[in-house]
Symmetry: C3
Subunit: 317 residues, 3 copies
C-alpha cells in the first residue's frame, strides 16, 4: 500500500511539491521558512515512508533538519537556501551568493510595511539596485518572483538549485531504510552549517560517507538528458577511492550518468572536505541551464536518473 502511495507520488503530486518548495522565500540566513514547511511536510508524509525517521531539529541545529533512518552509513546533504539580494542603503542591493539576472527581473520579499514586488536594475558601474514605489527597510532580503514552467521534458523555474535537491532527498526518503538526510543552510553564501551537522552525524553514528544532492551546470562536457552528473572534482578534489566506488555502483545498476570534471564551483562538499571529521563526499546532481538565473532549466530524464542513482547509492555504499 505504501508502495502504491509512493508510486503515485512520483507522478503528478511531485511536481506540485517541487513548485511549492520553489515558491518559499528562503535565501541564505532566512532558511527558517523553508525548514518550517519541510518539518510539516515530513510529519505528514513519513507515515507513508518505508522507515519512519528520527527527526533532529531545534536551536542546536539552528534552521537545519536532520533525518535519521535505520542504521546509517551514508548521508545526503541538500541545502535549503537560495541566492538573492539584501537591501543596503537607499535603493542599493547587495548579492546573497551569486544571483545572475537581467535588469527588469521581478524581485519579491517582505518588510514591516508588507509584501514587496519590485524590479532589479543596475547602475552604470553594474551595482545592483531596486526600483519600487517606496523605500524598502534595510536588511530586507529579496528573491526572484517565481515563474514555474513545466513541459513534458523539462522544468523551468528559479531556485531549482537547490529546491530540486531537497525534492530529490524527499523522494529518496520514501523508500530509504538506512541513511541520514541533512537539510543544510547558507550553502550559497559562505556556508557555516555543514561543519556542525558533520560533527553531529559523525559523533552520533560514525557516519563519514556523504553525497551532495545539489544542481550542477550544463557545460561543454555535461549535456541535457544524458543523466545525473557524478562530479569527479570541482574547486575541491574528493578522494579517488570513494569516487570509484560511486561510479562502479552507477555502472553496475545501469543508471544513466555523466562524469563531470570542473576546476571551479563548490558545494556543501567543500565544507565536509575541510571539516575536522574524516568525510568522504561526492557531488551527485542533475545539470541545469542558466544557473542562478530566474530561468534555471532541468530536464526530467536527469531528475529521474538522479533519484534512481541516490536509491542505489544509499543501499550499496
Amino acid at each position: 500500500m505504501n508502495q502504491i502511495d509512493s508510486e503515485r507520488d512520483v507522478q503528478e503530486p511531485s511536481t506540485h511539491l517541487l513548485k511549492t518548495l520553489v515558491g518559499i522565500h528562503a535565501p541564505s540566513g532566512e532558511e527558517a521558512r523553508l525548514a518550517g514547511y519541510l518539518l510539516q511536510h515530513i510529519q505528514k508524509e513519513q507515515r507513508k515512508w518505508k522507515v519512519k525517521p528520527e527527526i533532529f531539529t531545534g536551536p542546536e541545529f539552528q534552521d537545519c533538519i536532520i533525518l535519521k533512518f535505520g542504521e546509517p552509513r551514508t548521508a545526503i546533504f541538500a541545502h535549503m537556501d537560495t541566492t538573492g539580494f539584501t537591501v543596503r542603503y537607499g535603493n542599493q542591493l547587495l548579492a546573497i551568493g551569486s544571483p545572475d539576472a537581467e535588469p527588469g527581473t521581478c524581485l519579491v520579499g517582505y518588510d514591516s510595511l508588507g509584501p514587496i514586488e519590485c524590479y532589479l536594475d543596475y547602475d552604470q558601474e553594474h551595482h545592483a539596485l531596486y526600483r519600487f514605489e517606496r523605500a524598502i527597510e534595510r536588511g530586507t532580503s529579496l528573491t526572484y518572483k517565481v515563474d514555474f514552467h513545466e513541459t513534458k521534458r523539462a522544468i523551468e523555474s528559479p531556485y531549482l538549485d537547490n529546491r530540486l535537491g531537497v525534492y530529490v532527498a524527499l523522494k529518496v526518503a520514501e523508500t530509504l531504510e538506512n541513511g541520514v538526510i541533512v537539510f543544510s543552510c547558507w550553502e550559497e553564501h559562505g556556508g557555516g552549517s555543514v561543519p556542525y551537522l558533520a560533527r553531529f552525524i559523525y559523533e552520533q553514528w560514525k557516519v563519514r560517507q556523504a553525497l551532495i544532492a545539489d544542481i550542477t551546470w550544463i557545460t561543454d562536457g555535461v549535456y541535457p538528458e544524458k543523466g545525473v552528473a557524478i562530479s569527479m572534482r570541482d574547486r575541491n578534489i574528493p578522494r579517488r577511492t570513494y569516487l570509484d566506488r560511486i561510479i562502479a555502483i552507477a555502472e553496475k545498476n545501469r543508471v544513466p550518468f555523466q562524469l563531470e570534471v570542473e576546476g571551479m564551483g563548490s558545494s556543501d562538499g567543500r565544507e565536509l572536505q575541510v571539516s575536522p571529521y574524516p568525510f568522504d563526499w561526492c557531488f551527485v546532481g542533475a545539470p541545469e541551464e542558466r544557473p542562478h538565473s530566474p530561468r534555471e532549466k532541468v530536464y526530467k530524464k536527469d531528475i529521474a536518473s538522479m533519484i534512481k542513482l541516490y536509491g542505489f547509492l544509499m543501499r550499496e555504499l
Copy 2:
C-alpha cells in the same frame, strides 16, 4: 561601594584605561603582551565587579583569555590584536592585516638591539618599507606610534579597532551577572583562535549565542553620533531570527542604534559562522572614521550606546 567605585571608573579613569590599552604593542601573533596586561587588570579589578568571573588562561588557550560569569547564555568576543607590519629582508615590510597609513608614519617595535622608532615609506610599486638608522631584525613587528587625542565629543587614536572593543567588554564585565567574555587573537590576520574558543565555551556551557564587540566603519549609511551599529550582514550573513531578537531588544530599551548592511568586511563572527558549533552571532560595535589608520576616530556617544546596548543584550538574550 562597589557601585560607587564602578561609577567612578566610567568617568576619567576609563579614558586612562583605553589609552593604556591602545599603547600596548600587540599585533596579530604577539597578543601575549596585551593578554598579560589584561590578566593583571582583571585580577585587580574583579573584586569591584558585581560577579567575580572564572578566568581561563594558559597553554590550552594560547594567548587568549576567557571570563565566565554565572550561568552564561551569550558570549562577547573582543579581539586583542591589531594590524601592523613585519620586517622582511633588507628594509622591506609585509602587512599584518590591512594597515592603512601614509609615508612618514612613525612605527615602533622592539628587536634584540633595543626599541625601534622608524618611519614608514613606500617604493614606486607601493611596497611598504622602513627608514631607520640601522637594520631591523627579520620578523620584527612594527605598529603605529600612538598619538592619543581626546576631545569632549570624540577619541582619536590608532587601534581603537579593537582596543575599544576590549575596553567595552571590560566595562560590561563590571555589572555582568551571566555571560562569557572572550579575548581573542589573530582577528586582523586570518583568525585561528575563535574556532577553539568556540569549541570550549560550547562544550563546557552549551553557549551558542555570540556578540562581536568590534569597531566598524562610518559609511554612506552609518553616521557618527547616531549610536552603536548592529550589523545585519558583512561578507557573511548571520541568521535572521537571531538578528531580529537583537534589534527588538535595542528598540525595547530605547538604546540609540543604527542598522548596518555591508557586502564586505568580516570579523570574529565569520569564524563562529563556519565553526563546527551552531553559533548565532552578530556584530555590534561603534563606527569609526579612518579605519586601520593611525588616526581612527570614534565618537563618545557611540561608545556610550555600545556599552549600554551590551548591558541589555547580555541580560535579555
Copy 3:
C-alpha cells in the same frame, strides 16, 4: 646495532628511498598509493628504529597515516600529495594545486586503457592541455615523469615538495623517542585532512605543538646551502612565543638555519592555525629552486640541517 643500521641508512640507501618516494604517482586525492608504500616501508623498517611507533591508519584516517612514539608533545606534519593535472573534456587539463611546467613536459598516469605517457601543452589563452595518441579518460590524473638527478651537492627532481618532507620525517623516526609523525593529504589543493588529524592527536594525547616538514623557496632572503629555513610567517602568522622557542633551540644546538619571512604561501600550518584545537605550528623546511616544476632542486647541506634540527626540536620542544 640499530645505531649502526640507522647510520648506514643515512648514506646511500637514503637517496634510494627518496628516489622511490618521488616516483610514486600520488597527486592530491590519490594519496592511497603513497600511503600503501609508506605502510609497507614502516612495517619493515620500524624494527630498526629506537622506538617502535603505534600506527594509526584505516577508514577513519582516509589515506593518512599517524605514527605515535612514546609520550608525544610535538607532531611533525609531512604532506604526501603532489601537484598535477586532471583530464577534463577533450584534451583539456585542470591544475591540481599549482604546477609550473613548460610546454613539452612529459606527464604520466594511468586510466582503464593502461599507462599513459603524454605531453603538456598550452592553448593561446594559456589553458593547459595534453598531446597523446589517444583520448584519456575523464578525471584521470597526470603527474610529471620523474627525472631524478643527484650530484655531490644537490638533488634535482620533481616533487621534492614534499617527498623530501616525508623522507625527512622517516629519517627522524629512526631515533625518535617521543612524538607524533603525521602523513597528511590534499595539502597542494585546498587541504582537508589536517583538521581531523589535529582533532585526533589533540583529543588522544593533548598534543598541540606542531612542526611542518615541507619544502620552501629560495628567494632574495633565503639562500641555497645556508641551512634549513625556519619560517617566521607566510600568509599566516604563527604565535611569536612558539617561534622564539624554536629559534632558541636551533641557536643553542648550532644547527645552520635561516629565518624566512614571507607574505604569501601556506602549508599544513594554515589548517592547524584555523582548526578548533589550540595548535602552535611552525614551518621548518629546506628551501628549493624552481618550486612545483619538474626540476625542483634542493641542496644536500640543507637536507642535512633539516634532519638535524628536527631531531633537536622533537627532543627539546
